[in-house]
Symmetry: C2
């Protein structure tokens, strides 16, 4: 099996290194990942400036892949259109430092890379590891869990282009209780900005780190992660509100 | 009516200026928009650096709003959480230079700003104007069309948080034929990279501009825009593949 591995934390991130070690037990892994951290890059792509690339090798001087001075989605596009000699059988994005659940999925560069893979009709899986404030992340255990989930996803024989979002709960809250297949939570987050004045007297704002989802919907990824379950959410990229379509079509629309 | 206007082309973009003039016939318009162009920013947000803001005035020295050194989605967050004295009745994003249809919706900063508004349970409308290569865009006509569509959307009495993607076809291909309510096209685009060598001998890639959607699905935004219809697509931000959920839940998942 040929696996393309990418992420949004950058090619030298410990989460990618740990996940690569695990994926190498499943097949040939080529990494095409951002040269620098791209957290919360969403599905941004680079149109107006060129993408520089560099070959990267691991500590054993084995070819790792390419670092791309661009976004996670750029990496997947470039890998599939230019860098890989043939299309991979699987695209994996991660292991991200921090979960990507609920509406945070929309901000996530990790998930965007997997969505981009799905645009190309390739099976794509985003993997993220929950974070507990002030505690170092156990990427090795998180990557081992991710590999087990990926193996089971492949056993379901997903059709081409199927897209999955896998979240490993924070490992600081006790042992993982199991794996649950659940929808994305769509309840709103509560966020705040810190307001300050810079040395030149200008007001600036900084998005606070204490955001939370006070009322998550039951039976969603957000809830299950808090209860220390691994979550698997099948995703798709049709943003059409199909439920609203027919009602709106009945209105008379005139120029 | 209080309207928040934003975009991804930057606060001084002609599309925003034209749309503001039209929206001022509907209510009080406050602009909170990126200081610089943010095309293809997707739903990226700024976490790791602060957001500087600046008050901006129009040519008649009337208060226009704030320029934000950030992403389109940052502008909406900051407007709603900090800058506006009370929540707007409507959020409009645009008028974008270039359509945002099909899977391009996922890359679009214009649409991401509207999605962000919808996260806050406010009615949000993204407006984009199709572009014909080498021809200047007629933002004035595009904005007038957008305003008419927005008025009709409001007449449907959308529930709080309802999200719309409006595309005006390229006005160079003949007169607009009408307005159609249609789903987002999800057929793939064909793209290419230009491969070159920089003055220091390094290979670089630049995403080509000749991408296209050779086989768009019938009765979608992509097709209707080519036929010179304005398209209205209701959107939502639940990426869950609900059709696949039940089947996956039946599998046995083990750690």
């Amino acid at each position: 099996m040929r696996i393309l591995l990418t992420n949004d934390d950058g090619i030298y991130a410990p989460g990618l290194r740990a996940l690569r070690e695990e994926l190498m037990t499943l097949g040939d892994v080529t990494v095409v990942a951002p040269a620098a951290e791209q957290s919360a890059a969403g599905h941004s792509v680079t149109l107006l400036v060129p993408l520089l690339i560099q070959e990267v090798f691991d500590d054993q001087k084995r070819f790792l892949g390419w670092a791309v001075e661009g976004r996670p989605a750029d990496c997947v596009k470039l890998a599939l259109l230019e860098l890989l000699p043939e299309p991979p059988d699987l695209i994996v994005s991660g292991l991200n430092a921090g979960s990507n659940a609920g509406i945070n999925v929309l901000y996530s560069g990790t998930v965007a890379a997997a969505i981009e893979g799905s645009f190309f009709r390739l099976t794509s899986i985003a993997c993220s590891l929950g974070w507990s404030k002030g505690k170092p992340l156990d990427f090795r255990t998180g990557a081992a869990h991710s590999r087990k989930v990926i193996e089971q996803i492949l056993k379901t024989k997903p059709t081409a282009g199927t897209l999955f979002n896998v979240n490993i709960p924070s490992l600081e809250n006790g042992p993982v209780k199991g794996i649950r297949v659940l929808p994305q939570n769509v309840a709103p987050y509560v966020e705040n900005f810190i307001r300050r004045v810079d040395p030149r007297g200008r007001t600036y704002f900084w998005l606070g780190n204490d955001f939370g989802c006070p009322e998550p919907h039951p039976d969603t990824d957000e809830i299950a992660l808090r209860e220390s379950y691994i979550t698997v959410t099948p995703l798709q990229f049709d943003l059409t509100n199909h439920a609203a379509l027919a009602g709106l079509q009945k209105h008379e629309w005139t120029l």
